[in-house]
């Protein structure tokens, strides 16, 4: 039957970022970098002069496309928060030709940037609610944007629960920041690793991320939203845990990965069923997942 596709995620399509110029990259300068794990690097960038920057606003969960002159373009989720203006940050894993080139760039080098694209998390809808964030691996990058956004506006939200699963200790992103947050009263943070937690037994649980659910106690399912991002395999298991807590399918938000290219719903690379994930995603509700074929 005909799906009511405008229902999905109850997210609106973002305003056109730079109107008809959304296909022309603006220039950013790399101001600093650091390695977060053996293959993930953190980049801080700032705009160079261009009249279009006034519009450079974004939402947690959106993504942008980076260009290197002569080496093409690739999409990356934004890891910084719009609450911290001026600097746009990315946490990027070295996986192919483009990122290999990116990893050779130095401070001061220029990058082209288009975006933001996608729906992102509808943070307005999270206001006043308890939040559970579940991150797996590199999923901690886009979710850092949401995490910082909530921490910076903490008085507007309820409980903040964060579950982070990593394969091993070396691959935990933002390790220092997370370890510091472990003693914060702003957040209930639990970290797990699949492999060895030797030396960090007090901080890190050894096992699957789903095992961390036993630590969060009772939740109020009518006033809680969950945000998930991680490797494709993770979603199913995490969603099961959330459903066990009686959460509403429309309050479970999943940020999904696809091959993004144009970011504006035209090139077709990100399409799933009848949905362009670059415009109507990458954030979907669990109900979207159930009624649309092939989403996860």
């Amino acid at each position: 039957m005909r799906n009511n596709q405008y229902e999905y995620s109850q997210h609106h399509i973002p305003e056109q970022p730079h109107n008809h110029e959304s296909q022309v990259p603006i220039m950013m300068r790399i101001i600093s970098k650091k390695d977060l794990s053996p293959d993930v690097r953190f980049f801080q960038t700032v705009p160079t002069t261009d009249y279009r920057y006034e519009n450079l606003n974004y939402k947690p969960g959106q993504f942008m496309s980076l260009s290197i002159s002569g080496s093409g373009e690739a999409p990356f989720s934004i890891t910084s928060s719009p609450t911290r203006k001026g600097i746009i940050e990315f946490a990027i894993r070295k996986v192919g030709k483009f990122t290999e080139k990116l990893f050779t760039l130095k401070d001061g080098d220029l990058l082209g940037l288009r975006g933001p694209f996608g729906n992102g998390f509808d943070v307005e809808k999270f206001l006043g609610k308890d939040i559970i964030i579940i991150a797996g691996g590199l999923g901690a990058a886009p979710l850092r944007s949401l995490l910082l956004y909530i921490l910076d506006n903490k008085e507007q939200f309820g409980r903040l629960i964060y579950l982070y699963g990593s394969r091993n200790v070396e691959e935990i992103l933002y390790k220092g920041d997370f370890f510091e947050l472990l003693s914060s009263d702003q957040i209930e943070l639990y970290i797990s690793v699949d492999e060895n937690n030797k030396g960090f037994e007090d901080k890190i649980h050894r096992g699957r991320v789903t095992e961390l659910f036993s630590k969060i106690g009772k939740i109020n399912p009518d006033n809680t939203v969950a945000a998930i991002c991680g490797p494709p395999i993770m979603y199913k298991f995490v969603v099961q845990e959330l459903l066990k807590l009686n959460m509403n399918k429309n309050d479970i938000f999943l940020s999904l990965e696809r091959r993004m290219k144009c970011g504006v719903g035209k090139c077709g690379h990100c399409i799933i069923d009848y949905v362009y994930t670059c415009v109507n995603g990458p954030v979907f509700t669990y109900w979207d997942v159930l009624r649309m074929q092939d989403l996860i």
Partner: protein, 344 residues
């Protein structure tokens, strides 16, 4: 609606009038088929009513198969400042105009595609009625008579053409023609009979018995059907179906660097969802490694996706996929599979 009358004997003068407004593009013979080409000589300017389909559809005039969408140097990216000529597309039929209506909606809703828009602004559409062949089925897709999307449309009422004027630009052209005496605002009294006959002739000209009834729901119900695998086994992933389909829009971009310089262009070119690496991510995860998955995506787009978004399927019944696919996977054979399945 403003209408005028035109007689075929004035064809040469019509070419003259059209040429004053821009380059005239029309179907021309190419081997055994036809293709849209620029007409330089009025001898090649013909009312091709029996030419049902060109090899490549009209979209090639709006977004060429390969063109620079950006130019760059190490310090900035910008749109190439290329002069876009006005083109007059003469001889496009109802299915083609319907396809352009779909493209207009697709490229200018939510986000405006600047590459499309700037060429579309410079395109004048002059439609001509047609005679269906055995592969046409625009009657089944409701695209056999268009209500909008043309600047001028010539409907053949046998002894003369009834000319519908759709836009003010079209009217400029007609008025110049009127000054040259090739259009006549006095329409013969029997026009309603003649027009009714024309519609009847159109309706009766189809013999393709393709059955698309309910195909949207059938697509949904056939998501896990075995025939996708069978089709996937024979599909060559050549992508020809997507190239010839007038409503296929997927593209890719690649950066080309000028030799020994720090300048270059970002080239935009037609892509196909049937190609193997269409949904491959940088992390080497291919969301559609199987040919059957990619075929399913294509038919979802033709039969289902657009109904959700724009209220009509994106197939306009031109028959190009039917005459093109080397292994006979096309909208007709897929529609047949959908019906046989009876997954209810």
């Amino acid at each position: 609606m403003r209408v005028v009358k035109f007689e075929k004997k004035n064809t040469e003068k019509l070419f003259d009038v059209l040429s004053r407004f821009g380059e005239v593009w029309s179907p021309m013979e190419k081997g055994e088929s036809y293709s849209y080409q620029k007409i330089e000589d009025s001898n090649n300017f013909i009312f091709h009513e029996e030419v049902t389909r060109t090899i490549l559809p009209e979209k090639k005039l709006l977004l060429p198969q390969k063109f620079p969408t950006l130019k760059f140097n190490s310090k900035k990216y910008e749109k190439p400042n290329e002069e876009i000529p006005t083109k007059i597309l003469f001889g496009i039929h109802n299915c083609g105009i319907s396809a352009l209506n779909i493209l207009d909606e697709f490229y200018t809703t939510d986000f405006v595609d600047a590459d499309y828009q700037q060429r579309r602004n410079k395109l004048i559409i002059v439609g001509v009625s047609c005679i269906a062949d055995e592969h046409c089925f625009c009657d089944k897709t409701n695209t056999n008579i268009v209500e909008k999307g043309y600047d001028i449309f010539f409907a053949d009422l046998c002894n003369y053409y009834l000319v519908w004027i759709g836009t003010s630009k079209g009217d400029d052209i007609i008025r110049m023609g009127e000054d040259m005496g090739i259009f006549d605002a006095n329409i013969p009294g029997d026009v309603t009979n003649k027009y009714a006959e024309y519609r009847k002739r159109n309706r009766e000209s189809y013999c393709n018995d393709i059955d698309l009834e309910g195909s949207t729901d059938l697509m949904e119900l056939s998501h896990d059907a075995e025939f996708w695998q069978e089709l996937g086994d024979i599909c060559l992933s050549c992508g020809q179906c997507t190239m010839v389909c007038p409503t296929c829009t997927c593209y890719n971009v690649i950066d080309e660097i000028d030799l020994n310089k720090d300048t270059g262009q970002r080239i935009r070119y037609w892509d196909s969802c049937l190609f193997k690496d269409f949904s491959l991510t940088a992390g080497d995860h291919n969301f559609r490694a199987a040919r059957s998955e990619r075929l399913k995506l294509w038919y979802t787009h033709k039969l289902k996706a657009f109904i959700g978004k724009f209220g009509a399927p994106s197939c306009v019944g031109c028959g190009r996929c039917i005459v093109t696919c080397p292994v006979d996977i096309n909208i007709k054979t897929v529609a047949e599979k959908l019906k046989k399945k009876r997954a209810l």
